[in-house]
Symmetry: C2
Subunit: 407 residues, 2 copies
């Protein structure tokens, strides 16, 4: 068995992200931009809403015309016109004047506020009584109140949710510069592994890692390309690694679980063009036998064969690299504070990632550890998240508050 290099802690591994370049940019139409990562800062091209806009039905006025108005002492205003929705009003509003306006209408020149329809009565066609005063700017949105032209609208690296899509629509941004989606090549290894649509003979198991890793890659917004299963033959392994590396921005090779297969995988990774092993062993559990190589500008990962180990390593180590390459700077918070419902032992010197189920109790969450070996996929299926037990901890006590990373 090849010796591990110095096993590294996870923080040291994550610092290596910056060795790898971010994807180039491409342009997509707005209706394809959801979930993509903004590839350039966007400066607001226009004011939004673009004109002073009523937020209530009523009368556009100069606020000063209403000062002191009350039920017992109403202000009398001359109605000089009516604002048509979607059009610039003809009439201007001077002191002592008013124009009918509906929510969303454009305030006439001169008007600086809106009296709600509930606070006025029509005396005749041309006159209203106003029972309540308004302040300048009341019941309206100023022309640049939502967004001022020339301001930084959105920063590059922002992942575009529904609200960012809306902001871009409001700004008239039809074509959006986004980072290209990384392509991730996925290779499974092991003489005992058969495709999921094959019927395994005794001693054989179906390939799981190709499917779980592809799904995780897609959840991250990247593109997964599967290179199938390679057995215990060095030439095949090297050729598949080369093919995957050439066509991908990142490669994940998982398994085999045996020492022989692991050594062969390391040999193949080392033999790749401009390859340099950066990591061979991380002080986490599961996931210690993880390999990271830099092949030219691309990261090449050797992941453990056990399905749960491979998934956990992807979630806590690979995903931050993938997000870095994808240019993603913004993240929704995805950790929930919960109370551990039993003691958890741990070994110092490594971070243990424990799979937990979240159970709501009176509005709070309890975290229930799911026990089971890392080869068992049902433990991941039952899990809502992962809890990290710190390197320097000998374990956590029942009742401890823990951060659960949602998976």
């Amino acid at each position: 068995m090849k010796e591990f290099f110095d096993v590294l802690d996870i923080a040291s591994v994550l610092e290596m992200k910056d060795r790898f370049a971010t994807m180039g940019a491409e342009t997509v139409s707005l209706d394809r931009a959801q979930g993509r990562v903004l590839g350039a800062d966007i400066i607001a091209p226009v004011d939004i809403p673009g004109f002073n806009r009523a937020t209530m039905d009523g009368f556009a006025v100069q606020a000063a015309s209403t000062y002191g108005a009350s039920e017992s002492n109403p202000a009398y205003l001359e109605v000089v016109g009516s604002v048509t929705m979607g059009q610039r009003p003809d009439a201007a509003v001077g002191p002592g004047q008013a124009a009918r306006i509906a929510t969303g209408g454009m305030l006439p020149a001169g008007a600086d506020s809106v009296v709600m329809v509930e606070h006025a009565d029509s005396l005749d066609e041309a006159t209203i009584e106003v029972y309540r005063s308004v302040a300048p700017g009341q019941h309206m949105v100023a022309r640049d109140e939502d967004v001022a032209q020339g301001r930084l609208l959105l920063r590059k690296g922002r992942c575009l949710r529904a609200q960012e899509i809306g902001l871009l629509a409001a700004s008239g941004c039809r074509k959006i510069t986004v980072y290209r989606r990384p392509t991730v090549g996925i290779i499974s290894t092991g003489d005992e592994v058969v495709p999921m649509d094959a019927d395994p003979s005794p001693g054989q198991i179906r390939d799981i890692n190709t499917h779980t890793l592809a799904a995780l890659v897609q959840e991250a917004g990247a593109r997964a390309v599967a290179y199938g299963i390679v057995g215990d033959r060095y030439d095949d392994l090297l050729l598949t690694c080369k093919n995957a590396l050439q066509a991908s921005d990142m490669v994940l090779i998982s398994g085999g679980s045996s020492v022989g297969m692991r050594d062969l995988t390391l040999d193949a990774i080392e033999a790749l063009d401009r390859s340099r092993i950066l990591v061979h062993g991380i002080s986490i559990r599961p996931g210690k036998p993880t390999i990271l190589a830099q092949c030219g500008a691309k990261p090449f990962w050797g992941l453990p064969g056990h399905v749960t180990s491979a998934m956990v390593v992807f979630m806590v180590v690979v995903r931050p690299f993938l997000d870095h390459i994808a240019g993603r700077r913004s993240h929704s918070p995805n950790r929930i504070r919960a109370r551990l419902n039993r003691n958890l032992a741990s070994v110092q010197g490594r971070i243990d990632f424990v799979r937990v189920r979240l159970v709501e109790v009176d509005g709070d969450f309890n975290a229930e550890p799911i026990l089971g070996q890392s080869g068992l996929i049902h433990t991941m299926v039952e899990a809502d998240g992962l809890v990290a037990i710190d390197m320097n901890s000998e374990g956590l006590d029942q009742g401890a508050l823990v951060d659960v990373m949602i998976i």
Copy 2:
């Protein structure tokens, strides 16, 4: 202005979900199943892993052959063969015997455990010394330890994440029964609204709601179909509503913001085939003027015109209905406990949904309210989540613990 019916509280509205039917099922291949909702219970078709499987490199033995073994008093075992990966072993292992095995290999008949290679030494080709005893079942996974054939594998309504995809791959499930994705028709209204790729004249604004609502629908895993913008003309409105209703499983019509447009929208919804208004006003803010009608078996929503109001109503009211129709029973928890960083006033008798930014402070989250009218989309862009202030509350104090719904 038409009177609101009795304004309903949000819980009463959400109870109406069960009036609407869940989508029918369809079959997709496993590689298309990620993010879909399982449409039928799945019973495990096979044991997983299907055979007793080593989880360490070493020697397959009968545990009893090692009892009492120690450094000073090793057990001597006869090596009767070597397990080839992916194949059923030829040799059986009897008392006092052992077979070489690698991680992932199939245990020979008779063996019930694995001695780690680190705890044994070869004396000659046919003999090993064992320095540590093992218990039955140690360093192996039993043939049905991950999944036992005939057990309920996954329950219908489960949304398929990477781990469920892996479990289905391991089980050889090539074709998966999932609920069909709902199609949601989206209509924008208002004479002042122009398409996002038009150049608005003074008094006009670009259509935002079509884009934000379509994005929210897609984030929910459903299909969005836009029916464009309809102005203040009843016949056009009714025709577009009819077309959308016929081709969709749910319809969202938003705006117009003016009272006239709102009344027209209500008239059109009431005129639809087998239409019954269930809700006209919900005691939430923003979002009070929300309409829900049942048109035959389908929900038809009238949403507020203000972009933020429409989004909040979608998130807190419409989404649960959409999930119900989509058959989705499982949810990742998406609320984070945080500490409010300022006082928030509220009015009794309605639930206020306040947009907040989450700021991490020493591992905890502070929730910073984002103030601004509900017509301003930048408030949603800056927000990480929503905090609900209860109906019976007059507000929340600085430092209060709140649940933030991530958006």
